[in-house]
Symmetry: C2
Subunit: 322 residues, 2 copies
């Protein structure tokens, strides 16, 4: 019975009350009203402690990140997030921890008007599974398929800061102490590109969010779209922290393979380029063109206009340019 | 990357392809078409190994049960199950285990035309979180609220066999060897009352599925409906195995408190009684009237027409009747 008391106390204290939620937390199911022709997008992501976030991550950041990674998937479909189901498994009931966790969850829910409609609380090693849903107009959504030869390849924001934070935590890289807070924030409190995703719905031919790393996620677009791509490595947007901390080639490699950025990677036809750039500028989202789609079915990279080979670990160090 | 290969291999081999699923497993989100005014019901349940099922439960049973407990929640709303998202955390990748687990999942999905639309696979101690969704006509669903003074209280099927199986596994009770398979099947392969739930949508005033135990789940109805109830203990439907294995009072107590039955507990007005019994008879579902709703705000029990007190552990042993 403890479980139910828990759910009641913490998870019913949200302030978001959507009109389309007829019945929220507390019955066998939540009930949602779908009153017009529309598409519903659904995604599920699990975060396991020690795998998807460092063990000592603050509770509020865990709550934020668990929601953010799911909203990021919804953003990549061009949809508007709407409802969330949250299943949490935790070793014991710690009221302080749970309160902070819920703050992380609800801050993001409130910002995007997402209602928590249900969930489950169980005992065990810490992990969180969220199923998030969103809405798009009928037959109007982005997917990984649809990129065409000649389309331009874009990313939002800067790439690699979250991976740099993880490297710093794992003591693989030494980072100036003044930078640590900023990159930890990128890792712990990723900002899903929800507004940018919706703005892209009219313009992009394919989209994905960068969770596994730029190369891996571009691979998913290429596979689903049956195309190849060339990345202009010089063009990858890197923060000043990345540039100040790492050699350029190491920074680029981290950006290519690091993951956890939750930026959007998308393709746009020549015809839609200006419209997209205008729309994203209105949405306040920085975007950078980092390459182009081709028919090769493989991913290639260039630096200083010269081809450089890539492997699973990134591109090979180009000693001549050091 | 192993994770993605896994999902592809095992979880895309389902045979159910629903017309309303525009995009299934393999993109950032699944996409569902909602083309008419309808309600969507959503439930999330986590099963943790050693908590919600014995550690040595066969993989196929775990897959079955993870789906069944969620479909049971959908049945309790009177809805038709439609889509499933599955997140599995497991200690290692065992192809044989995963194949059997998927058989358990997909057999039930195929029977009810439920499509697996997404999920996540992560490494860690075994647990499964499923978010299941279902459909009902607009503003037509059952909930825990709605029971009224004078309504009759009903259950589907027999109560207590699953709890008896758990008692036998934990060596608290000795069960004749010829009965063990039958009760283990009730525990491992519960049958969600999906058709009965839909048939009840026209007749019941409130409904819940029995997962926590008859008393606890009746308590949820009483609380949500702001009523009380009397249970006629003599009327509780017990299997012959329960009657043969336990003293009547122990059998009744196990039925009251055991849980894991996944039968439906529901209330029906005097006016709807005949209609409901006819509809459930057509659906092939046995139902038993076990009491009545009253205005007391508490749950009472009677045996041989005499009141007997109940506690958290069930009703108190009534030594005079032994």
């Amino acid at each position: 019975m403890k479980e139910f008391e828990l759910i009641k106390h913490f998870f019913t204290e949200q302030t978001v009350k959507r009109k389309d939620v007829l019945l929220g937390i507390g019955d066998d199911c939540a009930v949602i009203a779908s009153t017009e022709k529309q598409n519903i997008v659904v995604t599920t992501d699990t975060l396991v402690a020690g795998v998807h976030f460092p063990i000592d991550t603050p509770a509020r950041a865990i709550g934020h990140k668990a929601v953010a990674v799911n909203l990021s998937d919804i953003a990549a479909m061009g949809a508007k997030p709407s409802w969330l189901s949250l299943a949490i498994t935790m070793p014991d009931v710690n009221d302080v921890w749970l309160g902070e966790f819920c703050t992380g969850v609800f801050d993001l829910c409130e910002y995007y008007n997402v209602e928590l409609i249900g969930g489950d609380t169980t005992q065990g090693p810490l992990s969180i599974t969220i199923t998030a849903q969103g809405l798009t107009p009928e037959n109007s959504y982005l997917s990984r398929a649809g990129a065409k030869t000649g389309d331009w390849l874009y990313v939002t924001g800067d790439i690699g800061d979250a991976a740099l934070a993880l490297q710093q935590i794992n003591q693989n890289v030494s980072v100036e102490s003044e930078f640590i807070d900023a990159i930890r924030k990128k890792l712990d409190y990723p900002k899903p590109r929800v507004l940018a995703g919706q703005a892209l719905r009219e313009y992009a031919s394919a989209a994905i969010d960068i969770s596994d790393g730029l190369i891996a996620d571009l691979g998913h677009i290429c596979q689903a779209s049956n195309v190849g791509a060339n990345i202009v490595l010089d063009a990858i947007p890197l923060s000043n922290i990345m540039r100040d901390t790492l050699l350029l080639e190491d920074a680029i490699n981290l950006a290519l393979t690091g993951g956890d950025d939750y930026e959007l990677l998308f393709t746009v036809s020549e015809d839609n380029k200006v419209g997209m750039e205008t729309a994203l500028s209105h949405a306040g989202t920085p975007v950078t063109c980092i390459g182009q789609i081709n028919a090769s079915q493989t991913i290639s990279t260039t630096l200083n206009n010269k081809p450089v080979p890539i492997t699973n670990a990134g591109f090979e160090h180009f000693s001549a340019n050091k």
